[in-house]
């Protein structure tokens, strides 16, 4: 029963972070929520006895995708600033 409780809690956390990713007003927060979501996915894969996917999710899903998204948000922000022609 312990493990089922953990699964249900993790499921709720996944859905909560996913909802935040889409619903929060600030883009940076949205991306951070997404990275949190990715890290929770790593746990979910571990629970599903899928260590290969957990490794890939950590490095690619949360890590690289997160870095790409953060960099892009920064890029969009920087260009929106008045007087910035970069």
């Amino acid at each position: 029963m312990m493990s089922l409780t953990f699964d249900l809690l993790l499921g709720v956390a996944l859905l909560w972070s996913a909802w935040h990713t889409l619903a929060t007003a600030d883009l940076i927060r949205a991306v951070v929520s997404f990275i949190v979501f990715g890290l929770l996915m790593v746990l979910a894969w571990a629970r599903l006895d899928a260590p290969d996917i957990a490794l890939a999710e950590a490095a690619i899903g949360a890590g690289l995708t997160g870095a790409l998204l953060l960099d892009s948000v920064g890029h969009l922000r920087a260009r929106r600033r008045p007087g910035d022609n970069g």
Binding site: D52, A59, I60, L64, L68
Partner: protein, 220 residues
């Protein structure tokens, strides 16, 4: 988008969710059991880790096309990044991140090597190893120790698609022998390792490239 349409989308999404949940809770036991088949043929696959056997032998053709997808995305991305001025002048940044990077990166490279070697018999393999290499490059870039990339030169271009070309060459050689990606049993392990080494380098470069060709040029 008007309000009625939004309501329809939300309603449709709810309905789809309900149907899907009902469907998966009522699923019968499947007729085909692939795990048993995988286990039965594992000794002939050239590796002992089942996921690697599926990824590079039983369903290796998927992986070939998938590497093509990644290379293709990079080509499409390069078409979108206009030539730009990259600053190469070093500038003093905050000292913590570079220090961390100098410690972290050798560790990451070592782990990539370990993952590549481990993939044959336990979790790991070319994808994870390549991803860790790419992560090392991203960390170096964030620590301002490595510049963003501009136009790739021919050497880098070869590195980017070299893994794909090597995989294709092996596939073509085996196809010339009769069947696409049918490894001779005694060579299977060696050929898979060869492909995985090529893929690790190329996947590392490709994944890093997705970031470094796109990233904000940071002053070094």
């Amino acid at each position: 988008m008007n309000r009625a349409l939004r309501a329809a989308v939300v309603l449709g999404a709810g309905l789809l969710a309900a149907l899907l949940v009902a469907a998966i809770l009522a699923l019968p036991v499947p007729a085909v059991r692939l795990p048993a088949l995988v286990a039965a043929h594992l000794p002939a696959s050239g590796v002992t880790h089942p996921v690697t056997a599926v990824l590079l032998n039983f369903r290796g053709y998927d992986t070939l096309l998938e590497v093509a997808v990644l290379a293709l995305a990079l080509v499409g991305l390069l078409a979108q990044s206009p030539p730009r001025e990259l600053t190469h002048a070093p500038s003093p940044g905050e000292p913590v991140l570079p220090l961390l990077a100098r410690v972290l990166v050798p560790f990451l490279i070592l782990s990539a090597g370990y993952l590549l070697w481990a993939g044959a018999h336990r979790p790991g393999g070319a994808f994870q190893a390549g991803a860790v290499l790419a992560a090392a490059a991203v960390v170096l870039h964030l620590a301002r120790l490595w510049p963003a990339w501009d136009r790739p030169g021919r050497g880098l271009r070869l590195g980017l698609v070299g893994g794909l070309l090597l995989f294709l060459a092996v596939a073509a050689a085996l196809l010339a022998g009769g069947t696409l990606l049918r490894y001779p049993p005694q060579l299977a392990g060696t050929l898979i390792l060869l492909i995985e080494i090529g893929l690790t380098v190329s996947l590392g470069l490709l994944l890093a490239g997705l970031f470094l060709f796109l990233a904000e040029p940071r002053s070094l």
